[in-house]
């Protein structure tokens, strides 16, 4: 996992989503994100046009070579699919099959298909090319990697990056400009991490206590407002972040609603160096703290 962060260069950013990791230019950003670990898609675009499309799903049983041929045929047609060739990935043992079709007469699209050994999922990447260059083959494809479902997961999208301990899966996400939230669950436990930025602007609108006190609409009927907040700290390898911590208690009249946990911990910290507010809410404080500590792992120093 540590090698992933080294993939980013000066003008690139890391994208980590549902186990997939890759480095893309920092001008390419997600415009459409959908799906789960088992199946999903992501579309990246720059300010002018679509650039890269990713589509993944859990692999069914069968011959990987045959699947790759069929996937390419569906995407680019029979004749073009015959021109596809095997593509050597840096970690060749991680992939059962890896094939690339490069459009010989751009504008068009290059298509790469791969069957990951790590998670037994298949990934299709479509790159929209205007002129023939080797950027996709040499800069993007070699950075594509996968992580097994059972291990620690890295997440990085837009400006938000964090890591979740093993066993935590994504529940939902909300990606508003300047206010990004990822929600995770592990068996019966859940945790949300939220990043608000720039903090200087956010704190002129509301104090940190008020940001922490903001309860999601769906939970407002179930939990009481936070009444007392205490100071807390978060130790990072090279510095300590200060913040506030509170507890949301389930409303007394909802004593029977056992499907909702009795209390939710809320931790909010202000990272002055990165000018961001990080807020975690959930019922597993150690995991929340781990997630908060890993916030910003993909950001270049």
């Amino acid at each position: 996992m540590s090698s992933i962060s080294q993939l980013a260069t000066r003008n690139s950013q890391l994208l980590a989503w549902h186990g997939w990791n890759l480095a893309v230019p920092d001008t390419w950003n997600p415009v459409k994100v959908d799906g789960t670990w088992d199946q999903g898609l992501m579309l990246l675009a720059d300010m002018h046009q679509a650039k890269l499309g990713l589509r993944w799903r859990r692999a069914k049983r069968g011959d990987p070579e045959k699947w790759a041929d069929r996937a390419l045929k569906d995407e680019v047609g029979n004749l073009a699919a015959k021109q596809a060739a095997g593509f050597a990935m840096p970690e060749s043992t991680d992939w059962k099959v890896s094939k690339l079709y490069a459009d010989t007469d751009p504008p068009g699209r290059d298509v790469w298909v791969g069957w990951s050994n790590q998670s037994s999922r298949v990934l299709e990447i479509v790159h929209h090319v205007k002129t023939r260059d080797t950027f996709f083959e040499q800069q993007v494809l070699p950075t594509v990697s996968d992580t097994p479902e059972s291990g620690e997961q890295a997440w990085s999208i837009f400006d938000l990056s964090c890591k979740t301990p093993s066993g935590w899966k994504m529940q939902w996400f909300r990606l508003n400009a300047g206010d990004l939230t990822l929600s995770f669950k592990s068996k019966k436990k859940s945790a949300n991490v939220r990043q608000i930025g720039p903090a200087t602007l956010a704190l002129t609108r509301l104090k940190l206590d008020d940001w922490i006190g903001q309860i999601d609409k769906s939970l407002r009927k179930i939990y009481r407002e936070i009444d007392d907040l205490s100071d807390t700290t978060l130790d990072l390898p090279n510095r300590t972040l200060t913040g506030r911590r509170g507890v949301l208690y389930r409303k007394r009249r909802l004593f029977w609603a056992v499907m909702f946990t009795k209390k939710l911990d809320v931790i909010g910290v202000h990272d002055e160096v990165r000018n961001r507010l990080f807020i975690a809410q959930g019922d597993d404080e150690p995991a929340m703290r781990e997630m908060l500590k890993s916030m910003g792992w993909a950001k270049k120093a």
Binding site: Q13, N29, T204
Partner: protein, 123 residues
Amino acid sequence: MLFRKKKPHMSAEQALDAKPVRLVEAEMQPLPDGGGMLKVSLKQPKWGQRLFRLPESSTKSFEFDAIGVFVWDNIDGKTNVQQIIKRLAKRYDLNLREAQVPTVKFLEMLIKKGLVGVPMEKK
């Protein structure tokens, strides 16, 4: 419907290359939170002169947050939308997409309010 003026169509590329201009002459008064207040004098519509008369000093106020002030300051008729987005991203250490969405929405709102216009070249 028949006589409605057709709205000029703009592609995404054209919109990003467009250089917005201010349509009102007003001073932005800074606010303590980093934002600003724009007071625009109201113009009497011709059709309304017979019905009622606006006092000459009547103004309309628009409150901007710090990002709004930054975008307003960059609207000078020389800077295109793409440059404004890049400057905003650099100023607040934002991702380009994170800067693009609020900037475009904000400019759309300013255009709707009649504070900003986008000159278009005749075909």
